[in-house]
Symmetry: C2
Subunit: 413 residues, 2 copies
C-alpha cells in the first residue's frame, strides 16, 4: 500500500519536514520517528488534523513551568492546526487507592475533580488556545466497563510486559508489595487512546511505559497506532532535581512578573539551552541564533538569562509586564538597592514581636523553622540591616521594610 | 471472645468429634484443621447448617469416579445436614480466552452452559441429594461487576501472592507468556466465596491456590474465613496418571455395571486403600475393617478388589445390578468364557468388511489407528478366535460375537 508520504506533493513534503523539525526539537525521543512523519503526511493528504493526546492527573492542578515543557509542545501542534485532546484522569482519581495504603492517592469527589479540571484549564489557557482543545473525562468510558470488558482488555497484555516497567520489576525483586490494581493504571491510560483514536501521545520520560501501552493496546484492538513523543523532565532552579512544587525549585505560571523574572535569573548556566528549548515559545531560528551566541561567546550568560527570563514573563504576563520586570530586576539587583515599588502589608499583629513570628505572620515564610533558617543564613534584613540573631524582637513601625532572600520585599504599614 | 467449641455441651462435643473424623478421613489437607472443628461447633451451637462450596468448570460435564472423590466428601456433609453450594463457573466459560490462543477455553453459549450444568446435576444426583443442593451461576454477580469494583477487588491482592502459584512463577521464569487476564481466574473463584459466605470450600490438591484465594478475599472483605479442604487427586486405572477422560484411564459413573465392575477390578493393588477411602460410601468402621484385613493378610487382594468393584457398581446402579455384575465377572473372567448375555448390534454395514472398519463402524473402538493397535496387541477375537492380521477381511454373519479386550463383547445381528 502506498504510504501517505509517497502521496505528498513536493510542496507538501516541504511542509511535512517543516512541521517535523518543530515537533522534534528538544524532545527526548519519538517512537518511532518515521511514523511521526507519516502521521503529518496523513493530515496533509487527507486534510484532517491529527489528534494529539495528553493525559492529566486530576489531583495536582498547580501548574509550573516544568509542566509547560509538554504544553509548549502541544501548542506547536495546535499552531499547525492539529487537535489537542486533554484527558482528565478523573476515573482513577475518584477511585482512590483500594488498598487504603497510599495517602497520596486519596479519593477525590466529583466536585474536587471538576474544580481541579477547571483550574488546569484556566492555567493551560496561558499557553494553549483552550477554545480549540477537546476536553475528556475518562470516567465517561472507564466507568462503563464491566468485568467482562476488563478481562478482554487484560487478555491483550502479558504480565512479563507489565514487569518491564522498572518500578514493578524492582519492587518484586526486593519483595516490596505490588498491589494487583496498580497494573490497571497503565492499562486504563492506554485504553483512553483506544477510545479516542489518538494519533500522537505526549508525555514526560517518566511516562515512557504508560504512553507506549496506549500504542500497544491500539494495535491489539486493531486500530492505527499512536506515535509517542517523550519530553525531557525539566530540572528546577537548583539545577539538579526535577522541577516540582514540593521541592520548592519551581517557577509557577501564576507567579507575579518580578518573582518569575528573578527566579528565572537564578537557573544554573548549564541549563540555559534546555530552558530556551523547552519553556520558551521562540522560533527555531531564534533558538539557533541564541545557542550560537552562547557557543561563540558573543552572548554573555547573564544577558542570555535575561532573555530567557523576559521571554518567560512575556509568555504569561505580556510584553509590558516583561519590560517592567526587567527594569525592576536591573534596578534592585544590579544596583543593589531597595526597589521603588514594593508591596505593602497592613500590620495587624503585635507591636513588639519576635522576628520569626513576624516573618510567619506577614506571610513572608511558611513556617517558623524556615524563618529561623533564613535568619541563620543571613537572608533577612530590616530596613536594609541584616538580622543576625533569630531571637531578635522588633518594634513594628509604620513603613518598615522587611526583606527575605534577594528578591522578596514587603513594607509594613 | 468465647469460641463455639467452648460453648459445646459434652454431647455436642462428641458429635463435633464424630463429624470431624468423617470429614477429615482420606483428605489431603485441611487449612486449618482447628477451624474446621470450630465451624462444626458453630453449626451445633447456632443450629444453622454450614455452607459447603464446590466450584465447577462448566466445560467438561462428563463425570467419572475421579470426580466423586470430592462428591463423596460433599455427601458426608450433606448427610449431616449441611448445605451444599454448587457454583457453575459459567461467567468464565462465557468469556472464553480473550487472547484467542487457547483452544481448550473456547467460548460457550448460554445454552451450552445450561445444558452442561443440567448434565452435571443429573450425574451428581447419583451421589448427592440434588433436591437439597443450592445451585449458583457465578455470572449472576460477576457479570455485574464494573471496572471500579474490579479495581477494588484487585487492590486486595498483591502480584507477589499471585506469583506464588507455581505455574505462574515457573512461566515467568522461563519466559512463557502469562496473559494478565489469567490472574483474574483465581480472583473470581475467590470472590464467589465472598458473595456466598461459604464456610468451607472443597477442591482437589491442584486447586490449592484458588481455594485459598477465597479464604484470603473473605478476610479482606471483613467476612468470616472459609476452611479449605483439599482432596487427593485419584490416580486412574493405570495407577500413575490422574484419572481423566482424555487419558482413557477412567471409570465413568454412567458406564454400564459390567464395564464398571471390570474396570474397577483392574486397579493396581497399591491403590486399593485409596480407592476404598475416596470413592466408596462405606462407613469409617467398614473402611477400617477392610484396611486391617488387607494388612494382616486375611483379605485376599482379589477379594478386596471385588468388594471395591461391587461397592462402586452398587453406588451407581443399585444392589441388584452390583450382584449381577459380580456374577458376570466371575463367569467370564474367572472361567474364561463368553458371557451369557451380551449386547447386540443390528449390522447395517457391508457384508464383507475389513476387520478395522468393522471395529470402528460397530463403535467398539473410536478410530482406525486404535483398532489396528488392538488387533496387533492380540486384543480382538471373533467367535472366540483371535484375529492376528489387521488386514483380515471378514464376512459378517448373523450372531457373530466380536470381543475387544477382556471385557467388551458385542453380538452382530
Amino acid at each position: 500500500m502506498e504510504t501517505f508520504i509517497e502521496q505528498l506533493s513536493q510542496e507538501q513534503e516541504k511542509e511535512m519536514e517543516r512541521q517535523y523539525a518543530i515537533y522534534s526539537n528538544g524532545v527526548h525521543e519519538i517512537i518511532p520517528s518515521q511514523e511521526l512523519k507519516e502521521k503529518i503526511a496523513k493530515s496533509l493528504v487527507t486534510g484532517k488534523p491529527l489528534k494529539v493526546k495528553l493525559g492529566l492527573d486530576p489531583s495536582a492542578p498547580d501548574v509550573h513551568i516544568g509542566h509547560t515543557v509538554v504544553l509548549n509542545k502541544l501548542k506547536q501542534f495546535q499552531d499547525n492546526g492539529h487537535t489537542i485532546q486533554l484527558i482528565i484522569g478523573d476515573f482513577t482519581g475518584k477511585i482512590g487507592d483500594p488498598t487504603g495504603k497510599s495517602v497520596a492517592r486519596k479519593q477525590l469527589t466529583d466536585e474536587e475533580v471538576k474544580y481541579n479540571a477547571r483550574t488546569y484549564f484556566e492555567q493551560f489557557g496561558k499557553v494553549l488556545d483552550v477554545q480549540r482543545v477537546e476536553l475528556f473525562y475518562n470516567s465517561k468510558w472507564l466507568s462503563k466497563l464491566h468485568l467482562e470488558d476488563v478481562i478482554h482488555l487484560a487478555g491483550k497484555i502479558t504480565v512479563a510486559r507489565l514487569m518491564e516497567r522498572n518500578d514493578f520489576a524492582n519492587r518484586l525483586d526486593v519483595g516490596k508489595p505490588i498491589s494487583l490494581h496498580e497494573f490497571f493504571y497503565p492499562l486504563m491510560q492506554g485504553y483512553d487512546s483506544v477510545e479516542l483514536g489518538s494519533d500522537i501521545e505526549l508525555g514526560g520520560t517518566d511516562q515512557h511505559f504508560n504512553v507506549l501501552m496506549g500504542r500497544h493496546l491500539q494495535e491489539q484492538f486493531g486500530k492505527e497506532k499512536q506515535v509517542v513523543i517523550l519530553l525531557p523532565l525539566l530540572e528546577g532552579l537548583d539545577g539538579v532535581e526535577k522541577m516540582s512544587k514540593s521541592k520548592g525549585n519551581y517557577i509557577g505560571i501564576d507567579e507575579d512578573p518580578n518573582e518569575m523574572y528573578g527566579k528565572a535569573m537564578s537557573i544554573p548556566d548549564d541549563l540555559m539551552t534546555k530552558y530556551i528549548d523547552l519553556v520558551t515559545d521562540l522560533s527555531l531560528e531564534e533558538k539557533s541564533h541564541f545557542k550560537l551566541g552562547l557557543d561563540n561567546g558573543e552572548l554573555h550568560p547573564r544577558n542570555a538569562k535575561m532573555l530567557i527570563s523576559k521571554t518567560i514573563v512575556r509568555m504569561y504576563h505580556g510584553e509590558k509586564a516583561a519590560e517592567k520586570a526587567e527594569e525592576h530586576f536591573t534596578s534592585v539587583f544590579q544596583r543593589g538597592g531597595i526597589p521603588n515599588e514594593i508591596p505593602t502589608i497592613v500590620w495587624h499583629g503585635d507591636e513588639e514581636i519576635g522576628m520569626i513570628d513576624l516573618l510567619v505572620t506577614a506571610g513572608l515564610l511558611p513556617s517558623k523553622s524556615e524563618a529561623r533558617r533564613m535568619i541563620q543564613n543571613g537572608g533577612v534584613r530590616m530596613n536594609g540591616e541584616k538580622i543576625v540573631d533569630f531571637h531578635t524582637v522588633v518594634k513594628v513601625e509604620h513603613g518598615m521594610v522587611v526583606q527575605v532572600g534577594k528578591r522578596k520585599f514587603v513594607k509594613l504599614i
